[in-house]
């Protein structure tokens, strides 16, 4: 049975596309036939984060308008045999597609894939409405900042109003050193404020920047962020996975220098 998941956030720049790329890749690594759809028409980015930008021939709007068949537009990721990308159009805008057309497009993919992931654009307008139209469940990405959390709350309200089956939260870019000294909201704080289930916490990790530069998702690799993403994939598949301990204790020397700086 296939599941259609929209990855959304309201606010831009919190890591939706990176999250989509890593979760899509992770599900493929775990043996699930997965397709990633970039629904950000006019601001295409998932292709470049995935490192597949040179292989685009047709795009989502071409499929909707009947300029090509679905099979022609899907890019198979050669690194992961189960993974496909349907890129967005760069020279059109959000009005090129309607929510009904998106729903049909997604439903046409259900027979072929276990997971259909929709990378949603920022905002709450047409692009958002298009992306959520065919989805069974939603992953809301936020960071532990006031602006991102406020927007996440609004998005969760809109998803509930649209009768979204399941809504889970991903807290991205958490810095445990800052949480520990009380200068960043913790996962518990965010959960308390938004009152939704947290499906994963991803640490702020410089390896993410490096992996994006290289166009290679880091899910499943050695870094903490890579492990966190793979754990999220397992939880999406219904496994019970305990939360990672992100609490790497600072070295004694760092602590000492901090104390000295205070004094």
């Amino acid at each position: 049975m296939s599941e259609v998941i929209v990855i959304t956030s309201g606010k831009g720049g919190v890591g939706k596309t990176t999250t989509s790329a890593n979760i899509g890749t992770g599900l493929a690594i775990l043996g699930k036939r997965t397709v990633l759809i970039d629904t950000d028409i006019g601001l295409r980015n998932l292709d470049v984060v995935m490192g597949l930008e040179n292989r685009i021939v047709y795009n989502l709007v071409d499929v909707v308008e009947g300029n090509c068949r679905m099979k022609q537009a899907l890019i198979r990721d050669k690194r992961y045999p189960n993974l496909y990308l349907l890129p967005s159009a760069q020279t059109r805008d959000k009005t090129a597609v309607s929510p009904e057309q998106m729903k049909k497009l997604v439903d046409d993919l259900r027979d072929e894939f276990d997971y259909i992931l929709l990378d949603c654009p920022a905002g709450i307008e047409r692009g958002f409405q298009n992306a959520i139209a065919g989805a069974d469940r939603a992953l809301v990405v936020t960071t532990p900042e006031v602006s991102a959390i406020r927007d996440a709350d609004r998005i969760i309200g809109l998803l509930e109003a649209a009768d979204m089956g399941m809504i889970d939260l991903i807290v991205n870019r958490i810095r445990m050193d800052m949480v520990r000294r009380g200068d960043m909201m913790s996962m518990e704080d965010v959960m308390d404020i938004l009152a939704v289930n947290v499906i994963g916490v991803v640490p702020d990790d410089e390896s993410i920047v490096i992996s994006t530069n290289q166009g290679e998702p880091l899910v499943g690799m050695g870094s903490l962020a890579g492990q966190a993403f793979l754990n999220i994939c397992r939880r999406i598949m219904g496994e019970q996975v305990p939360f990672l301990s992100l609490d790497v204790q600072p070295k004694l020397i760092t602590r000492l220098s901090r104390i000295l700086r205070k004094a």
Binding site: E145, M178, R180, S186, I259
Partner: protein, 88 residues
């Protein structure tokens, strides 16, 4: 550990400030209700409850809590005495 306690005493944490500010802003985003309105409502509730019970006015706590699926109003009135227990 001692260091954390020491830090806790010496400075305000911006994390908890962020949480407090967010709780207020999310409620006002949703219900669009001003602090003045809450105050007026509180006065009305005190008047109503005082007819039946003696309450501690200093200890009253009124909160609007952002929840799913509903946002709810919580009010706590510490009871000092119930003068006419038989009738109550």
């Amino acid at each position: 550990m001692v260091w954390h306690v020491f830090q806790g005493i010496t400075r305000n944490h911006s994390g908890s400030l962020a949480k407090k500010r967010l709780k207020v802003v999310l409620v006002t985003d949703k219900v669009d209700c001003s602090p003045e309105l809450i105050d007026r409502m509180k006065d009305d509730m005190i008047r109503a409850i005082s007819k039946y019970m003696t309450i501690d006015r200093e200890g009253i706590e009124i909160r609007i809590v952002n929840g799913r699926p509903q946002t709810a109003l919580y009010a706590a009135f510490p009871i000092l005495d119930i003068p006419n227990k038989g009738i109550c």
